[in-house]
Every structure is written in structure tokens, then in C-alpha cells.
């Protein structure tokens, strides 16, 4: 019961952060395809980052890839059992690694910071932590409870 409640809370937290991520990535995808100027706090930082070659991967804007990633992580919450947790964590880990790479490029190659991208990187970092905690909690609490409920064959 306790494990289920914790899991429920983690699922809600992951869902909320995924929705924030969808908002950020969705906005950047929208301005890209609509040809609009990105709202940015720093002078031109977002435009410089969005205009750089690192803003696309194989011709697809990285914001769009991020949007798809957040949607898939959100979708993984609907999957039952360990598979759903593994898929969610795997996607979040990939997103986290790629976000770190993009932040590195912003700082050391493009020399401009896009607050939207940094916000998404922070959200993805939180999501990867939550998904790994959710998976590890499953290993420690839920599964033993099931194991106890399963009668062991005596020899």
C-alpha cells in the first residue's frame, strides 16, 4: 500500500514535469515552424542557439525531438509493470544525456544561452531522477510484496 502510494506520487510528479517539458519543447517547435521570433530574456541568445547547426538533428529540430521524447515518457507512465518503468527511465536518460550535450554546445561552441533550452535540460534532469527512483523503488518494495503473495512450492 505504502509502495503503491509512493509510486502514485512519483507518476504524478513525472507527469507534471513531462507536461512542463511538452510546453517548452512545444513552444520552441511552434516558433520554429511558424517562423516566429523566440521570446528571450538575454539579447539574441535564443535566436543564436536556435539558428545554430546544433538546433537540428538529421534535419529535425531538436525541440521537436524533445517534444516527442516528453510525450513518450508521459505515455510510458500508462504501461504496467517493470517494462513501463524501464522504458520511461531509458527515454529520460537518453534525453538527459542529449540535453547535457546541447548545454555544453551552448556554453563552449555557440557561446550563447537559450533559457528555454536550459529550462528543458533542468526539467529532463528532474525527470530522469524521478524515473530512476520510481524504478528502484519498484525493485525494493513492490516486487517483494508480490513474491510474498506467491506460494513457494515445497520439496
Amino acid at each position: 500500500m505504502k509502495a503503491t502510494t509512493t509510486d502514485q506520487r512519483l507518476r504524478i510528479a513525472i507527469g507534471v514535469f513531462c507536461l512542463i517539458g511538452i510546453g517548452i519543447a512545444g513552444y520552441l517547435t511552434y516558433v520554429h515552424y511558424a517562423g516566429l521570433k523566440v521570446l528571450c530574456l538575454s539579447s539574441g541568445g535564443c535566436e543564436t542557439v536556435q539558428a545554430s547547426r546544433y538546433a537540428k538533428l538529421g534535419g529535425i529540430p531538436v525541440a521537436t525531438l524533445g517534444l516527442v521524447g516528453y510525450i513518450l515518457i508521459l505515455g510510458s507512465l500508462a504501461l504496467r509493470g517493470e517494462t513501463g518503468r524501464a522504458v520511461g527511465f531509458g527515454l529520460a536518460l537518453f534525453g538527459f544525456c542529449f540535453s547535457m550535450y546541447l548545454t555544453y554546445r551552448e556554453l563552449f561552441t555557440i557561446h550563447a544561452i537559450c533559457q528555454w533550452c536550459v529550462s528543458s535540460a533542468v526539467v529532463m534532469t528532474i525527470v530522469v531522477i524521478l524515473t530512476v527512483v520510481r524504478w528502484l523503488l519498484y525493485a525494493d518494495d513492490v516486487e517483494p510484496a508480490r513474491a510474498r503473495a506467491t506460494p513457494v512450492q515445497s520439496r
Binding site: S43, A51, R53, G58, A86, L93, Y101, I110, A112, A147
Partner: protein
């Protein structure tokens, strides 16, 4: 009898405990393998994505043979007939001035120079509507010494009214970032590609202290307009000065800004 029954119960309990411990061990090992598998798979996919992102672009480097001839011809066809004076490109009486803060090693500047800027030169600089002034701002170049070296090399070409030929060739033949491709041999080879450049004069001019000071003065001016990224473009015309814009700006946006100040 009671003793034998107790022994059997004890043995059974022991077996159950062992079985449970074994299942628990298997379960932990299976989970560990699964976690390891997921971590490796996620990192492997991320590495592939990073490799595509890092290497998918223009690899570049100094062009040789027919590729060099083609690049030189492209640059020549873009700039031929357009007046140059130092870092200025275009008619000095053109009503709109675009100040281009750039770093010759900056890949975003390369993208801009080869796309939106090219169209601007063909349509607005050539027709005398816009003049462009280049100013140096260190961003992508790692060390100050190399930055100074490459910028002075371009400015020295400017002493022979060929700054833009040199800068354009530099952007066209930009090497892999952070590979340390900019050295004496690279700068010399680019100079040799500039049609009509007197090499011995160019080499002498590279020692000019005034050109070195110009690089520092450009940095001060960049700070004054708040430029901290490259390329940053500042448009000034009869209607005043537009807000500086940064990045690989497409021609349509450039045109919009030009119209707002002219």
C-alpha cells in the same frame, strides 16, 4: 515421533528460506541486468545522436585542387565589382550600414555568411542600398593569440582592398571546430587563394601594430553595443538604428530590418 516431526518442519522451513533467498537473488540479478541494459542502450543511442549532431555538418578545412578553384570562383563572383575599403564592403554612400560582429572560426557565422549574408551581398550591397562593415568579436576561437593572428591576417588583406575575399574564403574553408586548424600554413594558404593579393606586402602588413590595435578597438565597440554572440548584426539607416540581432539570420529577416531603418 514428535521430535522427527519437528525435524521435518525445521528442514522444510530451511528449504523454504533457501528457496526464497535464491529467488530474491535471481530477482536482484535480473533487475541489475535490466538496469544495466537500459543504461547502456540509452547511452549508446545518445552517443549516436551526439555523433550525428557533431559530425553531421560541414567538415570543411582548406580546399585543394578543383575544390579550391571552385570556392575561389564562387567568392570572386560574389564580390567582383563591389567596392572594398578596409573591412567595408559596398558603396560608402549606401544609406544603410550593417555592422557585422563576427569571429572567423564561428560556425554560426559561417552558416550566416554562406546563406543570408550571401543573398544580402547579391541583392542589397551590390545595388548600393547597404554597406557592410566587419568588426571582430572573439567567441568561438579558443585562444586570444590565434584570434588576433587570424583577424590581423584578414585585416592585412584589407590593406589591399581584399578583406572580404579573405574573410569569405576563411568562412568557406573553415575547419573542424577546436581542431587547432588555424596556423601559419592555413593563413598563408588562404592568402594565396585571394586573387591579386601581393603576398610579400600582405606578410609585411601582418606585423603592423595598427591592425592589432584595430582588433582591440572592435572588441570595445562590440561591448558598447552589447554584442556577446556572433554573428551580431547592427543596422543603421536614415530612420535610426535597429535593435542588434544575432544568429544565422535568414535573408527575409535581414530585409525586414533594412526596411525598418531605411
Amino acid at each position: 515421533m514428535a521430535s522427527r516431526k519437528a525435524q521435518r518442519e525445521e528442514a522444510r522451513a530451511r528449504r523454504l528460506a533457501e528457496e526464497k533467498a535464491r529467488q530474491e537473488r535471481d530477482r536482484r540479478q535480473r533487475r541489475l541486468r535490466m538496469i544495466g541494459g537500459v543504461v547502456i542502450a540509452a547511452i549508446a543511442v545518445a552517443v549516436v545522436a551526439i555523433a550525428i549532431s557533431s559530425g553531421g555538418g560541414h567538415k570543411g578545412g582548406l580546399a585543394k585542387g578543383t575544390a579550391a578553384t571552385k570556392t575561389v570562383a564562387q567568392v570572386q563572383s560574389l564580390l567582383q565589382g563591389i567596392p572594398q575599403d578596409g573591412t567595408r564592403l559596398g558603396n560608402p554612400k549606401a544609406p544603410v550600414t550593417m555592422t557585422y560582429y563576427g569571429d572567423l572560426q564561428c560556425p554560426v557565422c559561417q552558416a550566416f555568411t554562406l546563406n543570408g549574408f550571401k543573398e544580402l551581398v547579391s541583392k542589397d550591397v551590390r545595388t548600393g542600398k547597404v554597406q557592410v562593415v566587419y568588426k571582430a568579436l572573439q567567441t568561438a576561437t579558443r585562444d586570444q593569440q590565434t584570434f588576433q593572428l587570424q583577424q590581423v591576417a584578414a585585416l592585412a588583406a584589407g590593406q589591399q582592398q581584399r578583406f572580404w575575399n579573405y574573410a569569405e574564403l576563411f568562412y568557406h574553408e573553415q575547419g573542424q571546430e577546436d581542431s587547432g586548424y588555424v596556423n601559419e600554413s592555413y593563413l598563408d594558404s588562404l592568402a594565396q587563394q585571394v586573387p591579386g593579393l601581393n603576398m610579400s606586402t600582405w606578410r609585411n602588413d601582418r606585423n603592423s601594430s595598427s591592425l592589432g590595435s584595430q582588433v582591440n578597438s572592435d572588441a570595445d565597440q562590440a561591448a558598447a553595443v552589447g554584442a556577446n554572440a556572433t554573428p551580431t548584426l547592427v543596422f543603421k539607416g536614415p530612420k535610426g538604428q535597429a535593435q542588434p540581432v544575432s544568429g544565422d539570420i535568414p535573408y527575409d529577416s535581414l530585409q525586414h530590418t533594412i526596411n525598418s531603418v531605411s
